[in-house]
Structure formats: C-alpha cells, structure tokens
C-alpha cells in the first residue's frame, strides 16, 4: 500500500494524535463487535490448546522431543497459528472490504487520510496478537502445566518477527486482491494449517 506523500504534516500534532487514537479505539471496537473475529483470533487457538491439553497422549514426554511432551511443542505452533489467523485470515478481508466499500476513499477526503486507518488497524492487530500469545502461555502454564519458555525475550522476538512477516503478507494480499471475498479465499488457502486445525480453518473464513 502506498501512502500519500505525508499530506497531514500541516496538521497540529495534537489533532493528529487524537485522530489516530480515535481510529484505533474505533478499530478495536469494530474488532470486538464482529464476533467472528475475536473468536477466530483468540478463541480458536485457545480451544485447540485446551482440547489437546486434555488428551493424555499429548502430555507424555517423548524421547525424540528430547523428553518434552507433544503439548509443549504444540504451544509455539499455536502461537504461530494465532498470529497467522489474525494476519492472514482477518486483516486482509477487513482492509479489502474498507477499500471496496469506499471507506478509504472517504478518509482521503478528510485531514486524517487513509494511512492512519491502516496504522490503527496494525496497532489493534499487534495488541490482539500480544494478548493472545500471553493468554496462551498463561493457560498452558496454569491449567496444563506446560513450562514457560526458558528465553522469554527470544520468544517475544520470534513472535514479533513472525507477526511482522505474516502481517506483511496479509497486507500484500489486501493490496493486491480486489475483492473482500477473494481476499478471504486467498488467505484461507495460505494460512498456516497445523494438521489438527486443518478442518477448523477450512470452515473458518472469519471477518
């Protein structure tokens, strides 16, 4: 997505901040109000974690995992799934929909401009991804006795980089695909699908 060459620089900084703050709050409200989105972004990884956490087979230490249980290996996979779900399954259709419905064009006629709604969207996505990852770790630790990562900083960095990469892909799709529905299909195809969640993702084109 290309943004107009900094048209808003003449705006007082306070107005600019307030516009971004309002947009971010609005995007968060819309995210929560559209129930399929929080369910897909937070609910699905969480449900998978709880379901597989209850399966005894997943809780036995495996020699070929260096003594770790299958569940302990599965938690990072779920983190990737959660990040991918939001970045690839939810973000592109929302942005493509904004373009299709003329939301971005309307914003272009205001001092706020369309770049700011993209920024707001990314802030909300990053925040939801962070919350999801923390929730997954907390539930895994507290309810399912999975040990916490030994290198929290490393995990944070890896998750952040994964989120960046996947959001970038999602934005590319949103920028190239002309229609909401196609954005949805396109992403449902390339979204990460760990074996156990394949059936979920096929049926879950949320957003």
């Amino acid at each position: 997505m290309t943004s107009a060459p900094a048209p808003a620089d003449a705006l007082p900084a306070a107005v600019r901040r307030s516009a971004l703050r309002h947009l971010t709050r609005t995007e968060l409200t819309l995210f929560l109000r559209e129930r399929a989105r929080p369910i897909a972004a937070v609910g699905v990884p969480m449900a998978l974690l709880v379901v597989f956490g209850e399966v005894p087979f997943y809780n036995q230490p495996k020699a070929n995992f260096g003594g770790q249980t299958l569940l302990e290996v599965y938690v990072p996979i779920l983190i990737a799934l959660a990040v991918g779900m939001l970045s690839l399954n939810i973000l592109p259709p929302v942005l493509a929909g904004y373009r299709e419905r003329g939301v971005l064009r309307r914003l272009r006629t205001t001092p706020a401009g369309p770049a700011r709604v993209l920024a707001a969207q990314l802030i909300v996505d990053a925040a939801v991804e962070a919350v999801t990852v923390l929730l997954l770790l907390a539930v895994a630790r507290l309810a399912l006795h999975v040990s916490l990562p030994r290198q929290p900083a490393g995990l944070a960095l890896a998750a952040a980089l994964a989120a960046l990469a996947l959001i970038a892909m999602g934005l590319l799709v949103a920028a190239c695909v002309p229609r909401t529905r196609r954005a949805r299909n396109c992403c449902a195809r390339c979204a990460p699908r760990p074996p156990a969640s394949r059936c979920w993702l096929r049926r879950w084109p949320p957003g």
Binding site: L11, V15, R21, R33, Y98, V103, R105, R106, T109, T110
Partner: protein, 325 residues
C-alpha cells in the same frame, strides 16, 4: 462575488478515453452550483479533480485559493466531500462515526447538533448496515459537514432514494446553504438541478455544453411555450399567427394550440383581450430544463428522443459550438 472554486481548461483522460475535455467553470461563494449531465459524462471525474482525489492531466484548479493536490491538508479541512457510494464499516454506529470523523478536524462542527438538523438523532446508536438508504445518505451528508467546511461537494446525493426521502434531502441542502456553505451538487436528475441549483454547468461527453441559471438554460430552447385554450367566440387564426412571438397556431377540435417563444403568452393574451375573446381553460406548457438538456446535449439524447416519438418532426439543431460558453 468572490470565486470559491475556479476550474480552467481541465483535461483528464483514462488511457485513450478522454473523460474530461477543456472543462471550465467558476463557483461563487454561497451558491448551489449544479454539475448536470448524463451518466458517464465526466461529472464525477471533474469533481474528483476538484477534491484532489485525481490529478488532472492539464488545466488549473483553485479551491478557496488552494491547489487541490499540493495543499491537500488545508483543503481537506475546508472542503467537505460526500462521495458517490461511500460507505462505512457495517458495524459502526452513527454516533461513533460522527465522533470519529469530528476528531479529524481542527475546528469540527457540533456533531450532535448536526444529527438533529439532519433528522437522524433517533438513529444515533444504530449500526451503519441497519440504516435505510435515506438515513445512510443523511449520515453521509453529516460526515461531509462535520468538519465545518466552507464548501461541500455532494455527488449523486439522491440516487436510489424514494421520492419523499429525496424531497427531504433537498430541503436539507437548502438549510445547509443558508448556513453559508457553498455547495457543488453533482446530479443527473433534472428536477433536482432545477429545484435546487442557482447555476448549472451542463456536461456531456466530457465537455461543458452550457452554464447558466436553470431559467436561462431553459430559455435557450426556442419554441419553448405551448399555450392551449378554448376561445369563447370564434376568431381568425391570423390574429395570433401574425404575432412575432408566435411560431404556429393549430386547432384541435374546440381547442386552439399556440406555440411560441419568449413572451408569447403575454402577446397572445393581450391580442385576444383586444378582440374580446376570452381564453377559457387556458393552459401553459413551458419548456423544462429537461427539454433544454435534451436539446443541448446533442446527438445521443436527441436521437433517443426522436426514436421514441417517430411521428414527431426532428427538432432544430440547438447544439451550440462547444466552446461557446
């Protein structure tokens, strides 16, 4: 009156198609200026250049003394835009949308008062996708006005509205104008232009065909008047046919039908009065803006009209030289 919008020799092409060709017009402060033309005439492209959403290939545009492309930040503060088919996120509530959009501007209007004025205060908590067509249109106008603009561009405002909603919207536009906002109204509805606009630019195939008040445009169509009456006593047709304003006198049974230009009605009535003939059941049909539109927008519409009424004689060619105005 100072010019609020000044467009000179605007030219825009998409590939090999010329969408806008040498369009020039000026909008004065406080007026409702109509841009009228058939679908695909280049109306929307013209106003998109004015709004700064499109770059013109050639020509000069000044809006409130600003360049729409270079001075975007300042322009968006002072120019309110209602886009054709501009929607909002489906789940966004009316009040949220207005609060959000008012946060974009330096000196926003009071959006609550705007809701009242536009008659959608009752829908403040309704989600966008639950609004009726008329309510969406009102919200769209509200969003165009929430920044407290000096100029508002409204594109195809009443398309898809039912007649009542359309009339309500017209009243609204007049209210907005009375608050000192200059309005550019893009439309293909004759009735809308005739009713609302102080001046109209008639655009066809990317060119300005005529500019003027609705009345002035209508007057440009000769044979504009058709007077029909039943004379109280017989009289000689030549009494009327000899008048310079009268072009034809025909009889349909008891009825006399006089066609004429300009002040034909005055002339006819005074001649009849002098000869002690009373015109009963007097009816006057004047050329409407629609007639002017058909006459001025050239071949396509005229051919269509001629095919529709094969019996009627082809009208005079009224198309002026394109650069006449």
């Amino acid at each position: 009156m100072p010019a609020v919008i000044d467009v000179q020799r605007l030219h825009k092409r998409y590939g090999r198609t010329v969408a806008v060709d040498e369009v020039s017009f000026t909008v004065h402060e406080g007026e409702i200026f109509g841009i009228l033309g058939p679908n695909g005439a280049g109306k929307t492209t013209t106003v998109e250049c004015v709004e700064g959403l499109r770059a013109a290939d050639r020509g000069r545009i000044s809006v409130l003394g600003l360049d729409p492309r270079r001075d975007r930040a300042e322009l968006t503060e002072r120019l309110g835009v209602q886009l054709q088919d501009g929607q909002l996120p489906a789940q966004l509530r009316v009040e949220e949308a207005l609060e959000l959009y008012s946060s974009f501007y330096r000196a926003p209007a009071d959006w609550r008062a705007l809701l009242e004025t536009l008659g959608i205060a009752g829908q403040a908590r309704t989600r966008f996708d639950r609004l009726s067509g008329g309510q969406k249109q009102r919200l769209s106008i509200a969003l165009a006005l929430v920044g407290g603009p000096q100029v508002a561009v409204l594109d195809e405002l009443t398309t898809g509205l039912d007649p009542q909603a359309r009339r309500d919207t017209w009243e609204l536009i007049e209210q907005v104008r009375s608050r000192g906002v200059t309005i550019v109204l893009v439309t293909h509805f004759m009735e809308e232009a005739e009713r609302l606009c102080d001046r109209i630019a008639l655009i066809d195939s990317g060119r300005v065909v005529a500019i003027g008040t609705p009345a002035a445009l209508t007057e440009r169509v000769p044979s504009a008047q058709r007077i029909q009456f039943r004379p109280s006593v017989p009289f000689d047709d030549r009494l009327l046919a000899d008048l310079p304003e009268v072009t034809a006198v025909t009889r349909k049974g008891e009825l006399v039908v006089v066609t004429g230009t300009g002040n034909a009605l005055n002339a006819v009535v005074s001649v009849l009065a002098r000869n002690h003939v009373i015109a009963e059941h007097l009816r006057l049909e004047q050329a409407s803006l629609e007639d002017a539109f058909v006459a001025l927008t050239g071949n396509r519409s005229r051919d269509a009209a001629a095919t529709a009424r094969p019996g009627s004689a082809p009208g005079p060619d009224l198309r002026p030289e394109p650069n006449q105005e």
